[in-house]
Symmetry: D2
Subunit: 311 residues, 4 copies
């Protein structure tokens, strides 16, 4: 049985050394170090990796690290919500988001055209820029064909962006499909609706895309999931793996607790009862703000895999 | 300024008396009593009420209270995730869910065919029953037409169920549309996919349904939201109201906190910066397990509205 | 195995009926109903009941319900922190606390002499009133003897108050000792220090009071704990029972989760490993705001015990 | 206004570089970087630093980092609970704590003599070792004098330990007083009680120690607090600073939220209303598991201060 060891600072300490030491500290730090190890293992074992995150994380600066995770081939399938796609595009168009306070005066923000997400603000102008992008892009897509599965459509958009820090661009470039089961739930959906008003035969086929995610892996393949936050993104990845025989590896980073029975709080233990995580799988759940836990976990995994020449 | 008053028990105390007293206790109890008042107000003012909840809440016994809320005309538009629709149908077919422990042995549960959601279990057989239902229902729907908006499709299913405690049945009967932007994210999606394999011209049109939710209200109408939990359901209702000029009333019941910038933790304050809740709106956010807070809030609102002959 | 049952509203529904129904709803509501049952059982079995709460709960209107719990003989030993004692005394002197907002302007409050605890405010004047009370009371106590165990001292103060809604008064009247292991951690401590400056032989003996709590029960006696929140109050009650052979019944109501290893988040399961809760004990942990969960739990227990003529 | 910047990994990335980057990510990561900056500032400005933590953190491997914080003179006054003192002593005597699971079988652990704190276990034998230490130490102390303030007593114990990783030893060696307002709330209290049974004139004077903490600083001095977790430790430090005119700098790291009005969840904003944190103070609250957030914050502060030759 592992023993608690006193954590000590050494000058110039690296992230990897810190995470390693956290493995002997206790409480969530133990699970954090274990999460890094599970990711290293799923990569080494050649598992197909499902990577899920929520929209607010793309609003944050984690977006660069997500693009890098795709670029370094630690993600084979992406599942996310549509807000994240919108904000990835805005950032690729040069829009900057502001950092403010959780306790801002919200009426004042509204009057200034600032839209608050926690302690981050998106200006209404950024949505106008996004609208321009969508109007042009949808016209081009429609010329090619009338019926689109969501992931096909997102790939085309990614190819336009040409931004190394973009999730959509890195996904398109590296042939990593992005699934977004609730594609209409945002400004993106509004632009689809407006476009369809003029072009009623334009169809976004979500059932076809469910086929695509199911066929993105197989029963024979080893499968792992790295899930940040909860919601539809997490559930959809787990479901797709379950219908392919269940997961071999699972890492969940979330702020939610299992006590309310929510998807965001569901632990890697619960997933076993669904056959989602197999009995003998390697799994770790870390409770905490993902803007802190994910960088520690993924950077430590990157360092380990780089050292071994795997990335 | 309101004053703290000592809460005292009276024999035979009613839920309504308790909630009223909680208004002078402090911390979340104040916000809970306020939530009941905001719901009474949105009903009295004739607001169009958007009601959102997550799948795990339908797994729980809240499902009956949700059906009752629709029946008593405190919900004009429903937004939810697909798991809740599946489980509403299972329950209407007589399936019973088990109550167990959060700390169950999940591998053992898996072997027994029990699927855990917090401390509730759904037997795999219930999913087989659901499959039978869907296969028959989809055949019938397909005979009527080839392209369906999600809410149209759910209305047809509701009419089949004929169960007073069913969310789908009460919605269909009372002309309350159910929107489900991520319709493929569950067993439901799998059955749609299987059906479409044999009938490729069967189309589920999500963009068309986004039009339906946008047109379900208007700028001129007063609008309120009662949102339980977070995720796509909450976001979709807020977005639809925002695109119609913003909300007048908002009640959020959730276990999540705003500190991680998630949708589930977003407060009624944050919504003001999005123009979602208007400056002068009446709003209340209650942090806590919705299986406890929602019954207190809605029963107190029911009692008050019944007393005034409004329901 | 218990089954999920749909919760339905009946007009005029009582708190007891609601709590009973919650037992078949799911997630925390199941544990809430179980908590009420465990309290009924510990009373029926004649267990010695340790009742613990934190200072902020006495600031809130729960104070009346705490006094009532003592009056109805559902508490045999109290453990709390000193802030709660101060505010119980202030309320007995007629001071009123204000209900405001969590997001108040704190600098403005400071300038107005309002001290914020969540969404409750205590005016600085209330501390002046408390000072007057203490100066007189300590003089009287000192005349009687020089060395006081904390619980002896609190009993004397309680006898002065003569307020049916007071925790100290009901405790004194019903011979229920109040233990407060961190008696100096508040304005109370400051007044003790000022008094001791003039009267250096005045001694508050905390070690002697630890003897008193240890001897307040015995190995032979059945023991139960009702613990609200965490901290020193919860730990001290558990420790005292552990040193007397462990608990038979335990109910913990708290907002904290076990994932950080804190005392406030420690569950009734964890207590088993300490011998604190015995293997076969009846126990329930409910996660949620205590201003909501405690009234539901204790009122339901009161109703049940009244029906059976036990209180 | 600061802008969100995409976080990117560089090979061999240091903890300091990561924390700096987190300052532009969003949500809690922004507050985490700010916390490191506030600590650097309070040290540079020569503030008297109050450092508080809870017992479970000493059980964890943070203990080494706490001792190092004292050694590097980033703590001038310590406030903690007695469990942490017990476990610091056990570790100095060579006792090792085990790392297990949150979901352990607690009855089995009890039978094996393992006492669980979250996912850490302390063997009952470690308490026997602690007992031996206390019996000898108290005899020696009693020979010197009969009446002890808590902090005096803890200094004597620290001097015996001679372990560089010990909180008590580093405190004693560096003349940093340790205050523990609830000294009887643990095995330590039990040994005090047993000793006093034989030596009734042995007095532990908590009121005298309240004087000591009040006089440990002054109105004129700049004051800062670094508070980990909540409870009596946090409250006692804030109170002592308040009675000396309020704080200039405050850093709170905690898993609790302000929504229940608890001390552990109280933010640095709330403290302003108490005059605890002055209007113009520099302050940061970080929500998250302290075993993860504290190492990031303090190591980044250490690196910065070392670079500037301050430590």
């Amino acid at each position: 049985m592992a023993k608690v060891k006193d954590l000590l600072w050494n000058e110039g300490m690296s992230v990897r050394d810190l995470t390693n030491s956290l493995g002997n500290v206790g409480f969530q730090s133990v699970q954090l170090n274990n999460a890094a190890k599970v990711i290293v293992k799923m990569k080494k074992e050649g598992a197909k990796i499902f990577f899920t995150f929520t929209s607010n994380m793309v609003t944050s600066g984690l977006r660069g690290l997500f693009a890098q995770t795709i670029q370094l081939k630690l993600a084979d399938v992406i599942v996310t919500t549509v807000g994240g796609i919108e904000e990835d595009i805005m950032k690729s168009m040069g829009e900057k988001f502001d950092i403010g306070k959780f306790s801002s005066d919200d009426v004042e923000l509204y009057e200034k055209g600032e839209n608050r997400i926690g302690n981050l603000f998106i200006r209404s102008e950024s949505y106008c820029k996004f609208e321009e992008f969508m109007q042009l892009a949808l016209k081009d897509l429609y010329k090619k064909k009338k019926t689109w599965a969501v992931s096909e459509l997102l790939k085309e958009l990614g190819l336009i962006l040409k931004d190394e820090n973009s999730i959509l661009y890195q996904s398109a470039k590296n042939n990593v499909p992005i699934f977004c089961p609730a594609i209409t739930d945002g400004a993106f959906g509004f632009h689809l609706y407006m476009f369809k008003q003029k072009n009623p035969d334009f169809i976004v086929d979500v059932v076809d895309d469910f086929k695509n995610i199911l066929l993105s892996t197989s029963h024979d393949e080893k499968k792992g999931v790295i899930s940040l936050g909860g919601g539809v993104s997490k559930h959809h990845a787990l479901l797709s793996c379950l219908l392919n025989g269940g997961l071999d590896y699972a890492v969940y980073l979330t702020t939610s607790h299992q006590t309310s029975g929510s998807m965001s709080g569901a632990t890697t233990d619960e997933a076993k009862s669904w056959g989602k995580v197999k009995d003998d799988s390697d799994a770790s759940t870390v409770i905490g703000d993902v803007t802190i836990t994910f960088p520690l976990v993924i950077i430590s995994a990157f360092e380990e895999l780089r050292k071994e020449g795997m990335i």
